[in-house]
Symmetry: C2
Subunit: 697 residues, 2 copies
């Protein structure tokens, strides 16, 4: 995808469908462009008018003179194709189609859209839309939407799959005093997608944070790759709509029951370093902090307040967010003790009490920011009559301005567009109405720190190289459908180096000892006879045999016992089975339509659907990624040796996970695989796939 | 506690500490009282002034004439005691002490507060405070606080342990256009507590919802009892601050590690029917809906929107909240099809498309409200230039007004104090900025419905009557400390009817068979010899014996095998142990300082601290409550027979829970008890306490 910045910095704009009728969208669009001070040329295209709002009309876009970089089309759907062709003739390569009447309206519209797609691809032009509300860049400034308002210039870019949400966000932003750099309504994405625009937004010097409202992406792997590269440069925050999974799905395994689109998106976002918000408010609370403040170097939070209750709430929010209250140095406490009232708290949260004003706040804030044990400072303030909030805002803003640590404010009850709020906005201090919002925002900042650190530490190692005899694997699957027979599933595991417990039939005590030597100890012996149903009753089960001598002796004794107990029974010998002790985990793979093989790992057992103690990631997987999956469930600490229990062979468990992921990539004819349980033995002893289900397409 | 309504409807108010100096709080207080149109008599008490703000001064409260119902004290702490005595002389029995300088400042202040407490109790007066910001009743109107503003009159009552938060909430409420009936800052609660005021608030006809900001309660059982009775009449919503448990606690059991103040409060709130909010915003989002709208009769939500994206977001929010999208009747769909544009969606969410105005909205909303499959309607609206939002607000308000089903709105981007917002407020339609807030509010409404239904169905059955020989139990514990020896713990369980697996030592094969008959089958035999460490190696373990003959034969064979394998070993006979198969659960009790015995139930195993698959409730417990605890964890479905497994003896599991709860009540010298695991056998087969830990004070 070539440069899309022309969409945001055109020297001239043609409005195809510009109208003199104030009730028409084509009129609104012209009006916004003028009203919001677009400084380039405007060419209304309307064969029936001389001029619109003072700008000379042209009969066709082909007639419009230079400079002309952007065409915006807002005419009935049947005429759009012709205008698109004219734009191409006129060598306008950036086109926004606002008109609806395409894919969203049914088969006929879909055909119409398909024809547009073919023309676009054949000619290498770029089209945003159709069926969108347009786009804006507050810095150019350029507003080619028919929306009521444009937000103030700011640092947040917003890309949306919903036009309605653009409108809602803009209204809210104006009331909240939040500025935006660019807003794009993506519509049907006949050509330009959210993935394409990510790069353009990152390249925009005015955009410091990118926010996304996604209803879905249809270029899964590319989206992840681009977003991951861009996340290194700018924070990307997203809301994914349609998280629910209404309606029943056919469920054929635990993995199938637990995996879903939402798990796939979460995994994709985590890989790409995208911070996932669950509410619009959260999205923009995070965006303001990430746009305006530096990232913290650690997770130790200093809290400054003038009311104990706010300190308690802040402490709760910080703990809930997974950060912690900083332990202040003795120097800081001594400094504070001399400068605050006797009843003040110089322990974190620092409470300067209700009578203190901006001067005391300033001194205390400076001390907190200089304390080496503090990574981020939250300034809380309870409203009071005698308190000059604008003065506090100035002081907080000034001190934060020369600190290299992030500062967040919770000055409660500010009027959104009042003096103090404006001071904070100008000083780029994000302010929050209630303390809980601080916690959520700190958690997002800290998550970004950790992601960036992991990237810098090379955590994104390439996926593990696993070479298996894929031809043999394909041969096993050849011509099969539905559930693969267990022996084939076992053979498939073997090809991918996933071990299973050893087992076999021995006809003599000597053979049993030999077999046990091959399988490894301990083993269990069971009498092999079609005539003996209740083996235990005849002493036909012996467990925990530790060496060949014991196996030989017990096998002989067992056969003898069985003969005496059931004279005349046909005795084939003994079954020798490896006794597998260890911790159980579950590993499975399903196939996501957008993101491909989706791997699930969890603590084992049939109750996994109830406990939902599982983690997801996308194949292929690096060893570290498999390890991280284990650690997102209780399987991690359990395998690690929880509460004094000996540790298990985590490396072997990780290998099963990466190998199963590779298998799913190599063999797309497999719909689902599940191993439940994988028994992970003691350190160095390996992991064994006890029950394997493979479901083909 | 007698009637506290005089605090809110006094005929005359004395302000002790009223000042002519505008910088003094005693001046602010007088000013607010006058400014907010208090219509009763005002008596400034100040020996050094003739009048304050036009009201005649008195040298002492004893001098103030009738009517005088309320005294507000705002003078330095050392003088408060004398004034309190004067108030009592003057027969003023409702007193607010705003002054700080008591318990919150250290030991000397605490002594001062203790003296106040003694005087109050001796004289039967009622005191709110000290160290508070006062109270207001917007309907009287009465404002005896020194806060900047008073909110508009409304239906929400607010009780707060934090004065700062009162101020913040009021500022926020004014901006959001949310009204309040009463606000009380409780301060140090030397006398009047949140529990006392709950009743007074419920008795107030202007208060339809009560909101609480709690930092803690110190009358746990009374608080639950009063709040439960009041919840039947009015919704009570609460935030509990200090949810975090900073600092390490000594942990002596899984229960100890998992239980905490927060679990106790959650249990208390659930018992009392209090809806627990996690953020202030959520608290008042819920409060508006519960104050203004009827409760739904079911959980089927109809969504009406003019933009597909908002419908998707609403559907997500509804599913996340545990409600569901209503299936519209064919009649409704046919009605809608005739009245909406061809491309509109007449399936729920109903999308009337961007071009539709308030008339179409009105028709569609009426149809949704009349559909028998719809219990609640959410009206969403994306902002658009050509759309008259005030008109939509009028239509929505009018239709909702004659419906008996709740209506919530999400008209996005409304100016908080703009015309449309005012129409909605007047019509008592709660409006939310973003769809996610709808979901959270619906969940709260639905939770209240379910709680009320459970009460109506008599779910609050009395706790199970469990009579045990408490004298014998006390005798077991007599003189003991720390961890109780296992045999004593076993004896204690027996006294409370909690069974353990049978076990014993038999010296001969005949005794073994007799013992097995007593214990019940199947049993396991193990060789009993101090000289044989690895029992399995000598065939010294046999499992699954089903009858006396098998036990006799195997015991003899085992003793013989052991003799041959270890000649000269001292053989005492065989251990006979009941083989217990079943599902494992964990049941434990700790002691909460406010709420008493806190019972924990969870799925079993040592990993319970990792999975946190546990539920808490307070003792004593009714059977239904024990059952509900199981159902809040995966133990519920697992015992019920999950995925085709046979069901377990749930009744026996419930009995263990209620019995252990009673034991904890009867024996306060026990700090913690934990049974891990309780093995729950098949239906009708009982539940057995396998490992019991009892920790004494």
């Amino acid at each position: 995808m070539t440069d899309l910045s022309t969409f945001f910095r055109p020297r001239g704009v043609a409005i195809v469908g510009a109208s003199r009728d104030p009730d028409k969208l084509g009129h609104s669009l012209m009006k916004k462009l003028i009203q919001y001070n677009y400084r380039g040329q405007i060419y209304p295209i309307n064969p029936k008018a001389e001029e619109v709002l003072g700008w000379k009309c042209y009969t066709s876009v082909t007639q419009a003179p230079d400079p002309l970089d952007l065409a915006v089309i807002i005419i009935p759907a049947p005429y759009v194709e012709r205008v698109l062709v004219e734009c191409i003739e006129r060598k306008v390569s950036s086109i926004v189609i606002i008109s609806g009447g395409f894919r969203e309206t049914g088969p006929e519209g879909a055909k119409r859209e398909q024809r547009l797609k073919e023309i676009i691809e054949a000619n290498g032009v770029h089209v945003i839309g159709p069926n969108c509300v347009g786009l804006m860049d507050t810095h150019t400034p350029l507003n080619v939407t028919f929306l009521k308002d444009m937000p103030a210039p700011g640092e947040i870019g917003f890309l949306s799959h919903s036009g309605a949400l653009c409108a809602a966000v803009i209204n809210w932003a104006r009331q909240a005093g939040v500025g935006f750099s660019r807003i794009v309504s993506l519509g049907n994405q006949v050509d330009v997608t959210q993935t394409d625009l990510l790069t353009t937004f990152v390249d925009d010097s005015n955009t410091r944070v990118i926010t996304l409202y996604l209803e879905g992406v249809d270029d899964g792997p590319e989206f992840i790759e681009v977003a991951r590269a861009m996340s290194l440069k700018r924070p990307i925050l997203a809301i994914k709509a349609g998280t629910g999974e209404a309606g029943a799905r056919a469920v054929s395994s635990h993995t199938g029951a637990l995996a879903g689109q939402d798990a796939a998106y979460s995994a994709a976002f985590r890989r790409a370093g995208i911070l996932r918000a669950t509410t619009m408010e959260e999205l923009f609370n995070w965006a303001r902090a990430l746009a305006w403040q530096p990232l913290p170097k650690g997770n130790r939070v200093g809290v400054l307040t003038n009311a104990g209750g706010l300190g308690v709430m802040a402490a709760d929010a910080i703990e809930a967010a997974g950060l912690k209250l900083a332990e202040l140095t003795e120097e800081t406490k001594a400094f504070l003790r001399e400068r605050t009232p006797p009843a003040a708290s110089v322990e974190n949260p620092v409470d300067v009490l209700g009578g203190s004003g901006s001067a005391t706040y300033g001194l205390a804030m400076d001390a907190l920011l200089r304390d080496p044990n503090v990574d981020v400072v939250c300034v809380m303030q309870a409203p009071a009559d005698w308190f000059s909030v604008p003065s506090l805002a100035e002081v907080v803003g000034e001190i934060a301005g020369y600190a290299r640590k992030p500062v967040l404010a919770c000055m409660m009850g500010l009027e959104p567009m009042g003096e103090a709020a404006q001071v904070l906005n100008r000083r780029q201090i994000p302010n929050y109405t209630f303390p809980e919002q601080l916690g959520s925002t700190l958690a997002a900042m800290w998550a970004r720190c950790q992601w960036l650190d992991a990237q810098a530490a090379g955590d994104q190692q390439p996926a593990e190289q696993i070479t298996a005899d894929t031809a043999a694997a394909r041969a096993i699957l050849e011509g099969k459908h539905g559930l693969l027979p267990p022996e084939d599933a076992g053979a498939l595991m073997k090809l991918y180096g996933i071990a299973a417990p050893g087992a076999g039939l021995a006809s003599t005590p000597g053979d049993a000892a030999k077999l046990a030597d091959e399988i490894g100890y301990p083993v269990v012996l069971k009498i092999a006879s079609p005539d003996i149903v209740h083996k235990i009753d005849v002493g036909g089960v012996v467990v925990g045999l530790e060496d060949a001598d014991a196996v030989r002796a017990e096998a002989a004794a067992m056969i003898e016992r069985a003969r005496q107990a059931k004279p005349g029974a046909a005795i084939q010998g003994v079954h020798v089975q490896q006794m597998v002790k260890g911790k159980e985990i579950i590993v499975g793979v399903t196939r996501d339509p957008q993101f491909g093989p989706l791997v699930m790992v969890g603590s084992g057992g049939t109750a996994v659907e109830l406990t939902k103690d599982v983690a997801f990631d996308l194949a292929p997987l690096a060893r570290k990624e498999a390890a991280a999956m284990l650690d997102r469930t209780t399987a991690g600490p359990i395998l690690g040796g929880y509460r004094g229990a000996p540790g298990s062979d985590r490396a072997a468990a990780e290998a099963v996970i990466t190998r199963l992921a590779q298998l799913a990539i190599d063999l797309p004819q497999i719909n689902e695989i599940e191993i439940n349980p994988v028994i992970v033995r003691g350190a160095g002893e390996g992991a064994l796939a006890v029950d394997v289900r493979v479901l083909l397409k």
